[in-house]
Symmetry: C2
Subunit: 152 residues, 2 copies
DNA sequence: AGTAATTAAATTGTGTACAATTTAATTAGA
DNA sequence: TCTAATTAAATTGTACACAATTTAATTACT
């Protein structure tokens, strides 16, 4: 085994992760375009379907996205009439994102998307379960070094 | 279990895939910036470190990227002096991408990146192995429906 | 109270990603 | 052989994604 073995594309772990992510998001497109959403917009709506109101910072922490990404996405969702954006009266640095009636109605139209998608992804139930567990384990720890740096 | 259960963010499989992919690519940045590459550029270079020459179409198939993405990436790599782009004399529709001497020298500087990265990702060897297997299984089959549609 | 430090969004600039279209070259078919 | 169909890149337009900076509001400190 030569010293460059780990540089081969086929030995990468991140590469198939990156490709699977992109390819699965691509599979969402025909379903999401029916309700006029992109994948990122869909993620925001999923959060709002669970919590009517949320501030941008908290939303960003849930979705692992910053204001640089979310601000334009939220402006578009507002233009589509699915969310409302307003400053927090108590602390005007905070932006409160609130779902509208039309935004809530969209949930009904979206409810079968997860099942439709699962039929597009070639994976056994067992693999899907293991994948889910492993990925969430990674996510739980991926940015932990920030915490330890506070201790040092 | 209500009819919207599968719409919850925490029940998604694609979302943690998408986040892990992004977060791991972010971990690459400090290492890649030392050799003046982005992650996408690094993927191209990994292919070229294995094959000195490749045409754009084949490169795109390996990386799951199209000419719309690769053309500007290759132009940047050419400006950095790591690749050369030239038309195939036999069939001028084909673009041949060839690694330069400087591009080859970069391999030596990159050889420890995989190990550095693996130390940044909080995952056991067993989970990493299983993840690798599952993701590659998905990739192998993800765009197969194109083939079956040819049969129908 | 008044200034400094901190915080949260928005903005700016760079770099993908990809669908759709265009351009140019090659191949297939009448 | 000449035209139609096909192929491969490049181009165009839209939408993230994120680092870095800016702006505005709040909090901490003297």
């Amino acid at each position: 085994m030569n010293k460059y073995e780990q540089l081969k594309l086929e030995n990468q772990l991140c590469f198939p992760l990156y490709v699977c992510s992109k390819e699965i998001i691509r599979k969402y497109k025909p379903f999401l375009s029916k309700i006029n959403l992109t994948y990122t917009q869909y993620l925001v709506m999923m959060v709002l379907w669970e919590n009517d109101k949320i501030n941008l910072k908290t939303l960003g922490e849930k979705l692992f996205l910053d204001s640089g990404t979310l601000t334009p996405v939220l402006i578009k969702l507002e233009q589509k009439g699915y969310v409302k954006r307003q400053k927090n009266k108590i602390d005007e640095r905070n932006l409160i994102v609130e779902i509208t009636k039309n935004g809530s109605l969209l949930k009904e139209q979206a409810k079968n998307i997860p099942k439709s998608l699962s039929q597009c992804i070639p994976i056994s139930n067992e693999d899907a379960y293991n994948l889910y567990i492993i990925l969430n384990k990674i996510l739980k720890n991926i940015n932990k070094e920030k915490d330890t740096s506070l201790i040092d």
